[in-house]
Amino acid sequence: MKENKSLKEFIAESEELSESIEKKLFELSDLVAEGKESPDLINAIFRDFHSLKGISGMFGFSNLSRLAHELESFLDKVRLGKVEISEKVIDIILKGKEIIISIIKKIVAEGNDSWQIDDFMESISLVFTGEAVKESGYESVMNSLKNVLTEYEEHRLYENIKKGKNIYSIQFVFLIDEFDEKLSEITNLLKGHGEVISTLPKPSDTPGNIIFSILFASDEKEENLPIKNKYVYEIEKIGNYSVSKEQKDKEIVSDSTQEVKSISNTIRVDISKLDYLMNIVGEIVTQKSELVRLIDSIRGVLQKSELNLNISKAMTSLEKKINELQEAVMSVRMVPLNQLFEKLERNLKKISHEIGKEVKITIKGGDTELDKFIVEELGDPLMHIIRNSIDHGIESKEERKALGKPEYGQIDFLAYQKGNNVFIEIRDDGRGIDLEKVRQKLINMGKINKDSEISDDYLIQSLFMPGFSTKDAASELSGRGVGLDVVKSNLSRLRGTVDIKTRKNEGTSFILTLPLTLIIVQAIVIKTSSKIFAVPISFVEEVVEIVPQDIIKISGEDAINLRNTAIPVIYLEDVFAFNRKPEHVKFLIIIRAGEKRVGLVTEEIVGQGDIVIKNMGKYVRVRGIAGATQIGYGKTILVLDPPGILEEVSRV
């Protein structure tokens, strides 16, 4: 049972409802002051009280429920025309709303809702002096409709008939995927000329379609309706009445003694403050590593003594606290991917309507959390990928039918965390990437020879090449390609990678791998040719001890046989052009970025720990280098960027 979570939701929702009631009441009082009618607004306030009553009853807060019930019935009388709306009525409701806020606070503080509400309840009954309006004479009009109208809608229908309005029943046929947008477009248009009493959906004989019949009251003649010549519809005029009713003007003064304190326990903080905090924590973490190193070295001198034991005790607990601090600050910056996914989903739906392809979207793992900064920066690349999937991946309805696929294309958003990385997968069930066409394109570009054997992996990787994918190329390929190089560079700025898996007629997956956070990372510190580097551990698959004889030649390239898999071996000396080779080949750091693996030859493993990566400034960009970090006092070393290195070596 997740009752606790439900209770939190209850508090948030009831607070929202009371805020919404207050806002609407002010709006209403303005309208009343101008002598205008606003049945929609009164109905909306009624609904808020109704919801509040429902949920507080469900959560066992009977006092609150009783109060909301009283206010709901009061509002019900107002919306059904049994009580005339006035300044006094609005004041009463405002007062009720304030008591509700107080009770919610009590629930938060003490867990119960006991409160003196009887006096207030009595004041409501004093206001209620109105008499029920007899409603008759219209039942015959719409017997078929009557059952689906709520009591309120029925009342509105009656009110409009009484005022001598023309009542129309207007029927539209929509595609089921776009009816909500079309419908709100139409009702907004109509609302300027009368009152939309109800919108009734009806099943259509054609699958994929839905019929809506709108019950509309207006002074306008049929030919003057604003939807004329804009939409296709069937219209029927119902009944003809000519009674009229006069309006009354009322002045209203709103309550000004409002409580400003909010009940919810969240605050908004400028992200730059968190950045600053995170940087300080980063520095502390670095200093801690240095301190640990120093203490380790003096412990040898102290030998077995009580002091030695005490130092190490103190150090351990300090280390623990610093780790906790780091985690706490990091967790503040973490946000779930849900919001981003929902935004993408909305965009995707919009695009699919525009281009006339229908897709089903599934989101899984939306509660996976990532650093706020990373989530913000992910919007563009993900949008790019999704745009590609819907434009080029998903086939037209006809094509899909012919292939025996479901009419609706499927696009999935998946997210999950594994170790220090978060994986985001965008998967479609479209036509897949035509690798043969990619090969042709590369031949035309002069990148490869006609007869050379090219691996699928290489072909896929070349999609990310800058310049590969101009608009031309994309349409020529009738596949993907628009700006995938941009996606890749966006991601590498976030120290992330992107991979593609594709199968003809089955679809394509884009798999993004991202670090949880950018600021503090765990790293292995290595030394080769007397240069020291840090390698972020999220890219390190394993460290293997080797001897020079282990390195063999495979098609002229250095490689190693690791448990029967050939892994290419590279020297950082070559990558950064030091013009030398390491003297002792001792370790191989197997790094992985996406699907690719490579072994880095190194002479020494210096250590392992948390490092804070600092950018080297806007203008210094070296491929293969992510930035610099300080280890110990004043000693600065370079941090490797494994995806960059892999890219560098696969460019030969």
């Binding site: 609904r47 009853g57 469900m58 066992g60 689906v148 709520t150 089921i176 009806k202 099943p203």
Partner: protein
């Protein structure tokens, strides 16, 4: 065993959350939450809904309109619908039964009574 997908239509998040917490320990059920009747209408063609639990008072289309749609449709009329409303609106509940609602509950109801109704409708 076949998974039974229950559609919960209610504009209140805590109500939906409450309903799910009442039902989540029934075997082989999953949930689709619709905040509005429109969302429900959009989900129906995607198929696989074994039961609809709907509030009556909602924005855009109300629960009665949704119920009317489901029961008049060739495709969906066999999906059982459980309507939920408040005691004051007995009139609305009467209309729901006329329109073909398979069961109804009035707020506040106990989690057990909801569970019992749902089990009956799902025949588990």
């Amino acid at each position: 065993m076949e998974n039974k997908r229950i559609m919960i239509v209610d504009d209140s998040a805590s109500m939906r959350s409450f309903i799910i917490s009442c039902l989540e320990d029934i075997d082989n059920v999953s949930f689709f939450e619709a905040k509005t009747g429109f969302e429900a209408l959009k989900e129906l063609p995607r198929g696989g809904i074994a039961l609809i639990i709907s509030d009556i008072n909602m924005p855009d289309i109300n629960g009665l309109e949704l119920l009317n749609f489901v029961k008049k449709s060739e495709y969906y009329k066999n999906i059982p619908v459980l309507m939920i409303s408040t005691e004051t609106k007995e009139d609305d509940l009467k209309r729901a039964l006329t329109l073909g609602a398979d069961a109804y509950l009035t707020k506040p109801f106990s989690s057990q009574s909801l569970k019992d109704e749902v089990k009956k409708l799902l025949k588990v």
